[in-house]
Subunit: 292 residues, 2 copies
């Protein structure tokens, strides 16, 4: 299964296209034009990027950073993850929990996406980026810059079952002048078999102006020291599907699905609808409740 | 915060009252009368208990048991949990993940309920009960009997934050002639402080007739060997709130909430709407999206 999606700011910005597609089992979803508490779900092309966080979240950042620092050592000691030997990527093992599997008794797409997020956060923290959920460098915090996901492509070849152990490796790299990328490789830890791959593109946004910003040399210097020296891609093949543009819907009205509005439980610690919620919405379209 | 709720069979049976209440922050919810794929959300009083699983799930049981057995050793080795020294309870540590916290940056009620389920499953598996998600004994499987949750009461005194480590201890005990109970104690692993307690009552149901059944001596003998010899309660205080009847709604029409229908993602490996989904629905009622 392959999923490409756009994270929180589901808006078209100058350099970005708003893309939401789930290729294998579900039809694309056109999100309703609806606005709740400052989170926007659709916007006209070329509009400025709408907030993915608000000032409350920003003000809370310092507090949660302090809290995380206090308990960080214990969690780091117990966690089944660490930087790799060359310190240029991070690996963590996860045991699939009973509530993380769906009707077919294997991990749901949402579980996979959640674990990608978790391992990304843990990687960022382990190299000293901020622990407020934004994984910013020192200079970024000084200049009120944050990363926002622009695109994510996930391919899973074998969904793990309850109690299976999966090992996820992740690393970051520069991506042109305006962004960075994070890749992941998922393995069945018992056999070493690659069961999935994923890649994502991130851009830097000014938290105050909500505009995208080029990655300055200062910021680049701060994070490139933690990145592989040579280009390393989860999808190294030429013309692989992660590179393909997501085609436009011929008749978007076919793919409307009403009633998929944010619930309390869809909001994450930055008070915005989490990217995994969008994946869940896409997957609700065109699916029946019966097993298949 | 305290939550009492009834699991999947949201129906009134002879010996049970269908109860759904969330005391502290949300008003009770009367679920809509709606039926999808054999999962029932409301039924007249004194109706037989409606299925919490179907034959497909039952047939799949053996398969998932085999799958779990194959990978069990690796997961058991890596898991941060095990039976306690006297082998009469089970403890496991969990690091709160970045996607398990809500807008206030602490674990959501759903996260807590999920972890209670996970630690219960792992306990049941560690003493050799079935690994299909039903935690049945040998005799129960022979007679097509399963456990269904009748009531659950959760109290959390301090919600853990992202990266906090919590330790959950759980154990089972007999409960009259028709049921059993499972209790939990949640601690902040860094300080040893009790941050929550929970208890639940379970009854035995015949999978074919869908009727409740008394727990026979054979079954009792099979599981009591793993239970504390003397009564041990997570809520030992007299007249504690876990014992109180949930009062009837004066005007149930006040607490209707439309649109809370099951999504694909609400179904668990037994193909029924998971109990945590019901908790989530209750919490959606009367809540605003703004932080508080």
């Amino acid at each position: 299964m392959s999923v490409s999606m756009l994270k929180a700011p589901c808006n078209a910005a100058d350099q970005l296209q708003a893309l939401a597609q789930c290729r294998a089992h579900a039809a694309p979803l056109r999100l309703p034009r609806r606005r709740i508490s400052g989170v926007s779900f659709s916007a006209p092309p070329r509009a400025p990027v709408v907030a993915v966080l608000d000032r409350v979240a920003a003000a809370d950042g310092e507090q949660s950073r302090l809290a995380a620092a206090g308990s960080g050592n214990l969690a780091d000691r117990l966690r089944l993850g660490s930087l790799t030997e060359d310190r240029l990527s991070y690996k963590e093992r996860f045991i699939v929990r009973c509530y993380e599997v769906g009707i077919n008794k294997t991990a749901t797409v949402e579980t996979i996406a959640n674990l990608l997020q978790e391992v990304g956060c843990n990687h960022a923290q382990s190299v000293g980026f901020s622990t407020d959920g934004f994984a910013t460098t020192h200079t970024m915090r000084k200049l009120h810059l944050i990363w926002v996901t622009a695109r994510m492509h996930i391919e899973i070849y074998k969904y793990p079952a309850w109690s299976d152990v999966i090992e996820i490796e992740t690393w970051c790299q520069g991506e042109g002048r305006i962004g960075t990328r994070r890749d992941w490789i998922l393995k069945d830890y018992a056999t070493g078999q690659v069961i999935g791959r994923a890649t994502s593109k991130w851009v830097m946004m000014n938290q105050d102006t909500r505009r995208l910003q080029k990655v300055s040399d200062d910021v680049r210097d701060e994070y490139l020291i933690y990145c592989p020296r040579e280009l390393r891609l989860a999808f190294p093949e030429e013309n692989n599907s992660s590179l393909r543009k997501i085609s436009k819907l011929e008749d978007p009205s076919q793919y409307y699905r009403l009633g998929l509005v944010p619930r309390r439980a869809d909001l994450d610690m930055n008070q915005h609808v989490n990217n995994v919620t969008y994946i869940g919405w896409v997957l609700e379209v065109g699916r029946s409740f019966t097993s298949s």
